[in-house]
């Protein structure tokens, strides 16, 4: 369950959004410049809106009225950036494990070996990011986000930079991990086919405003939510 409300003005660009995702996968869909990435940055805490409220799985990340503003490191989002931002000085293994040492104590949602198997990273562990193909980099970035023990995965155009074959491959990886781990996903896309295939909730953005929302999930009775997770 994700709640995002934000009002933010940056020069000529303004964002004014209120949306809720009930299901496991929320898609932010719209043309480039619609404010999709800004919205992800607001959830991650990298952009602070002038007014807003962000609640993920019962944890308030931001509430400008109540004066709550968690630092990005305390929000525990697994952010797969559009430009990936792999650490060039670390090998694949170092990238994957980076968030691990800061993770919450207790049982992590994702186990290292399980993630490595799932994303097919075993043979890449000793390589540097500069020596990976686009699809490989994408998988490492997803693995790194997943292994930081996140409350939510944020994916900014996870498929945009890939050719059709790679795109189908990464898409199936994302579907696998969605089945394997109970981590909600918010992803940004400008392709309808991806959105239709992956999303349980869809918000269509244009010029910083929501023009349409759609959900495949009926509002669940409160008492059944616990058992279904």
């Amino acid at each position: 369950m994700i709640e995002i409300r934000a009002r933010h003005r940056l020069g000529a660009f303004a964002i004014d959004v209120a949306l809720e995702g009930r299901g496991p996968t929320l898609a932010l869909f719209g043309p480039s410049g619609a404010g999709k990435t800004t919205l992800l940055n607001i959830v991650a805490g990298l952009t602070r809106p002038q007014e807003g409220r962000v609640v993920v799985d019962g944890v308030t990340f931001l509430d400008t009225v109540a004066g709550v503003d968690l630092a990005p490191r305390l929000r525990r989002v697994g952010y797969v950036f559009q430009e990936l931002r792999l650490f060039p000085h670390l090998r694949v293994e170092g990238n994957l494990l980076y968030g691990r040492r800061f993770a919450r104590h207790g049982e992590p949602v994702a186990d290292f070996d399980q993630v490595v198997e799932l994303l097919g990273l075993r043979s890449l562990l000793t390589r540097r990011p500069a020596r990976l193909s686009g699809g490989e980099k994408q998988r490492v970035a997803i693995g790194r986000a997943l292994l930081a023990d996140p409350r939510v995965l944020l994916m900014d155009e996870p498929l945009a930079a890939l050719d059709d074959a790679r795109r189908a491959e990464i898409l199936s990886y994302i579907e696998k991990l969605r089945a394997a781990f109970a981590i909600p996903i918010v992803f940004v896309s400008h392709r309808l086919s991806e959105v239709e295939r992956m999303a349980s909730d869809i918000a269509v953005l244009d010029h910083g405003k929501i023009v349409l929302t759609q959900t495949t999930v009926a509002p669940p009775p409160r008492d059944r939510r616990e058992t279904s997770r």
């Binding site: 805490g45 990005p72 490191r73 952010y79 950036f81 430009e83 931002r85 650490f87 000085h89 930081a148």
Partner: protein, 242 residues
């Protein structure tokens, strides 16, 4: 033949003990000055590269002063501040028994100060070349600002830090004006390559000594510059890899 100036045999003769002492002292003074100033250099470079605060341009100006002031002025200011009667000199002698006047430690202080602008400049540029977006990625993965600095910013800036150290070292080897003003030119205590060379040019028949010390100084400086160049190239290559 003897009065035709420099003779090859004189150039190739082994270094005298006094020359060796000056070379060794130069290396010691430059090394100590460089390493002691390094933590300050990194801290100030980080502030200048990544933080906005009141008085930033004043701090930047003070850091660069030794580069533009006549070195004799810097030496004189050091004497006023860090001499035995100076406020800092007296405090440091009182708390840690550290004396600068006419000691090699003073030469190291002068060397560190004179190399400081070059060091800060190189480190600042390399920190600025580290992509902020990588630091943000570290933050979203749970790293504290200190951990981001230690595990992302510093490793990526490392070649620039080393280049800054080398430049500061090379500058320290060549330091003359501030050193001779602050700690004089005492063989075995404060006489470095530069000041020994100066002495050699003041005595009859000192040309061979001067020339040999010159060659040593050129070799050290040139090696340092080459190393700094190679490392700087590596920084920009890293930055391209993102």
């Amino acid at each position: 033949m003897g009065d035709e100036g420099l003779e090859l045999s004189a150039l190739l003769a082994p270094f005298s003990p006094q020359e060796w002492t000056a070379i060794a002292l130069s290396l010691k003074v430059a090394t100590v000055g460089m390493f002691v100033s390094l933590p300050f250099g990194v801290a100030i470079a980080f502030l200048l590269a990544r933080r906005d605060f009141a008085g930033k341009s004043i701090l930047n100006g003070i850091v660069h002063l030794p580069l533009v002031l006549p070195p004799v002025v810097t030496g004189w200011l050091l004497l006023l501040g860090f001499g035995r009667q100076g406020p800092f000199g007296r405090a440091l002698e009182g708390c840690c028994g550290l004396v600068f006047s006419f000691r090699w430690t003073g030469a190291a202080l002068a060397a560190g100060i004179m190399g400081f602008p070059l060091m800060v400049r190189a480190i600042r540029l390399s920190i600025e070349s580290v992509d902020l977006r990588l630091e943000q990625a570290g933050e979203t993965l749970g790293a504290t600002p200190a951990m981001v600095f230690a595990t992302i910013t510093m490793p990526l800036a490392a070649p620039g830090v080393v280049a800054g150290m080398i430049l500061a070292f090379a500058r320290a080897i060549g330091e003359f004006g501030a050193t001779i003003t602050f700690v004089a030119n005492i063989p075995g205590e404060t006489q470095t390559i530069a000041t020994a060379l100066y002495s050699a040019t003041q005595i009859p028949g000192g040309e061979a000594i001067a020339m040999r010390l010159t060659i040593v100084a050129v070799l050290i400086a040139f090696t340092a510059l080459l190393a700094a160049e190679v490392l700087a190239a590596r920084v920009s290559r890293r930055a391209m890899e993102l």
